[in-house]
Symmetry: D2
Subunit: 284 residues, 4 copies
């Protein structure tokens, strides 16, 4: 496998960015493997994902730094850099439902994704033995109204001490406080079990049943302070009919949640997602 | 083609309904072609669609009447009857957009549906020549705040004088008053250009763009006094990405609107839809 | 949970079957929960799935037997009976790929399906430790050209001694001989990693890549002597593009295979599938 | 609307192509609106679609020529150029079925596509009056075994004299000879009413019914000498069940055919499709 550098840029549009980026890489002896860009014409923001193999494959880190400086200084772009060999550390937060948990863990274990699971955090003990069966750390901290603030502090400490680079809420049934989100220092991806913005909040399948919709959905999004309002990464739907009661929707929804969450995490781990405002750019 | 009777029943569940209905038909020498039923266990309401060929195919009307009496009196069910040879008269209400209009008219003309178009009603003159090109009546009545009440009265008079049995709002951009809906005396199907309940109200594609959803939708529903809250008959979605601006969503949405509206109308014309509360039962 | 009886009937059509079946159940004090029927008009074969709660819920077995006799003798129908409380024993056959294996096991363990896993049979040892981690029997029997006949005999002996009622080929990469299929005495469901009849045989994803298709598929079917020609239970597809090489198709296909196989097994376990000729009737 | 140039390049990969193309445009004062590229790693072929607004918008043709020379000479690439203002002349070939015909014509008339319809060619007179209703030329030439060669010559003469740049087979039920395809001098897009490579040849819906598939499909492809073997541009599927007989598949298929053909034609008219070997690259 070739070693490559991936850069995600965004910033105010200006003529010639594509040429300048490609020129810089070419001048440094690199070879572009993929390049994809997008211009939000309403906001006039330019986005690019570019992946290249540098001339000297032993010095990716220093070439990345040079590129960052160039993109910042010369192009006025914000830059995020990743290396093809990166293997980010992720934490999975769960409550009682285990379908997304197993799905995520099995994908990492099978080598489908380039990632390490630092551990599993939960407000319940239900999934502890499953986590241990996978040889994963399991931090069980029950949350009550009174204890929430303190528990979140412990969770943050754990995440920080394990250098976690991505938190995945795999049907974690607690709302994270804005303090937590400010301090977590890495992206947090959640799976919401409805086709947002429909049926935000609690019991979305029951809401869907009451409304008599003919499709149910699931939405994976980055978590922000505004509950269920964060930038959407991926959504999908499944057909239902009058024959399906709330428990059928819940069962059907499980497969949807697994798929949608896994697609969002895959895209994130492949460094294909840029979020801005309450939206995302997801490069194919 | 065999001549057949279709009955749609619904009412409080009780033991033995299926047997009694099938028994009645069998005793009268009929042969069941299709039968489908549903029990809403939360509301304890029983629904059935049953289609049969009677022994004497020359006397469908009187056998239908006998069956209705039986289902009403003996089973306590509400009944709606249709004959396979029925060819209901429909009216299409439009504004300026013509994609659903052409789609509906071409389906009727090609013989795909068993229906007659009584005419086209519009608050604009844009589609007049297209309607005349199809040899269809075109009732052009501009609507203003002041004239709305009177125009609706004229529309009702027209619908009534043409014995219209189904009104289709094919992107008709006026809200029908509750008076209109009370008096129209037949079902009204609307296509809303979003995945309801998301983005009810005006400019749903712009709302969808603002929210950054990854799928757009369309919803066909029976019109009730509560705007965009009526019983949903059919929904579908199409994938979009950050590359799609509002005008792309509008273009992509047109195909979705045509498909979803036509599926809903087909199901309705096949007498497969029962509405109750704000939901529908749609038999396959 | 109410205890109920499910009967699957099929045979030559005749007038009044629906009435007679419903009448029999009603006369015996039973209450129909669901009934669905289908008439293949080309072959004139009638199919029905009917589920009812009998009057005396303590005597399901004897009522089932009575019904079978009635349906056989009086209606000339072949009958298959299941009880809502049945928990069939299934065997999973695997080779090296583990995605369908984990998916099936986790569904059974979570209680999503009413089934017991009798054990896992494999021609490789790869999944042995995973099976043991789930506390499942693992019968590892390497297959070579020379040993195949004997190994199949051992497998049959194992299946028979464990009273297996359904065999699932979860990416089992050996072709079962016609002798095996004749003697296995229960249905065998396979997942083929293409949209059959396209790309039957070996390496379907490579075939799909070579042909440049824009969708890949997966097909779950009952296994018959004709390779990849058995009655199809379920199919689905996923979108691909020129960007996807063979290994991308394989990765994308894994999710498809899991979904399609699990839907087929669910329908089978719910006693919703009837096969005849090389087709199936799958009641919703 | 800005005037822009679109270039489609392909040829043997080499380092720095992206930089050189972007550099050329930048050096000439142009501004890249979109750029998308693809590398077929198995064949080592590089593909690019790049769209830019030139500095002087009054001289698109000469800048295009300069770019072509550059891409040919300096990069060794084959180039196809289009201008945003191009409005290619298309011919539609039909037999008796009219659904794709109406769909295509209405899309052009509504301004959804930038194209002119030069006329309609048919081996039957059925759609003549519909074509005249749209004020379109209708060349009716009945085809028999004996007359085929001569008729094709007349068709070619007509296409050539009308400067047709794209031929669409909208359910045209004649096989075009290899002589016709050699001489037509422009791409020919066909809609096949199955999910190729399944059910190539005649009566695909009947084949699909016989096989008992659970999804039917449609495929739009460029026509080559090998019947139903040309490069696939777009495919899609729709769900069917045991309830659907051949005539139901035909009806359901019509909507699929319209959608798939229109998506393929749209992509082609947007200059997003490159074909090579028997495959296509379709840029989003």
């Amino acid at each position: 496998m070739e070693r490559s550098i991936i850069a995600l840029l965004h910033g105010p549009d200006q003529p010639g960015i594509v040429a300048k980026v490609a020129g810089w890489i070419h001048d440094h002896g690199g070879n572009v493997l993929h390049a994809d860009q997008h211009l939000d014409r309403q906001e006039n923001i330019f986005f690019q994902r570019v992946e290249w193999t540098p001339q000297k494959s032993n010095d990716l880190r220093s070439e990345s730094d040079d590129f960052s400086t160039f993109a910042n200084k010369d192009l006025g772009m914000k830059v995020r850099i990743a290396l093809s060999e990166d293997c980010p550390r992720i934490a999975i937060m769960v409550s009682k439902a285990d379908h997304c948990f197993h799905d995520l863990v099995l994908r990492v274990r099978s080598g489908e994704w380039n990632a390490n699971i630092a551990g599993v955090l939960s407000n319940h003990e239900n999934l502890g033995s499953a986590a241990h069966g996978y040889n994963l750390n399991y931090l069980h901290l029950p949350v009550s109204k009174e204890s929430k603030q303190e528990i979140e502090r412990e969770q943050l400490k754990w995440l920080s001490s394990h250098d976690v680079e991505l938190v995945i809420l795999a049907r974690y049934m607690q709302i994270l406080s804005s303090e937590f989100l400010e301090q977590v220092g890495c992206p947090v991806i959640n799976i919401h079990h409805s086709f947002l913005p429909s049926f935000a909040g609690a019991k979305p399948y029951h809401q869907a049943y009451q409304r008599g919709v003919k499709l149910i959905g699931a939405t994976a999004h980055y978590v922000t302070e505004d509950l269920d309002e964060g930038p959407i990464i991926e959504q999908d739907v499944a057909r239902v009919s009058h024959r399906h009661g709330p428990s059928d929707l819940i069962e059907k929804g499980r497969d949807l949640e697994k798929l949608v969450l896994s697609r969002a995490v895959r895209r994130h781990l492949q460094n294909r997602v840029l979020d801005y405002g309450n939206k995302t750019v997801v490069f194919d």
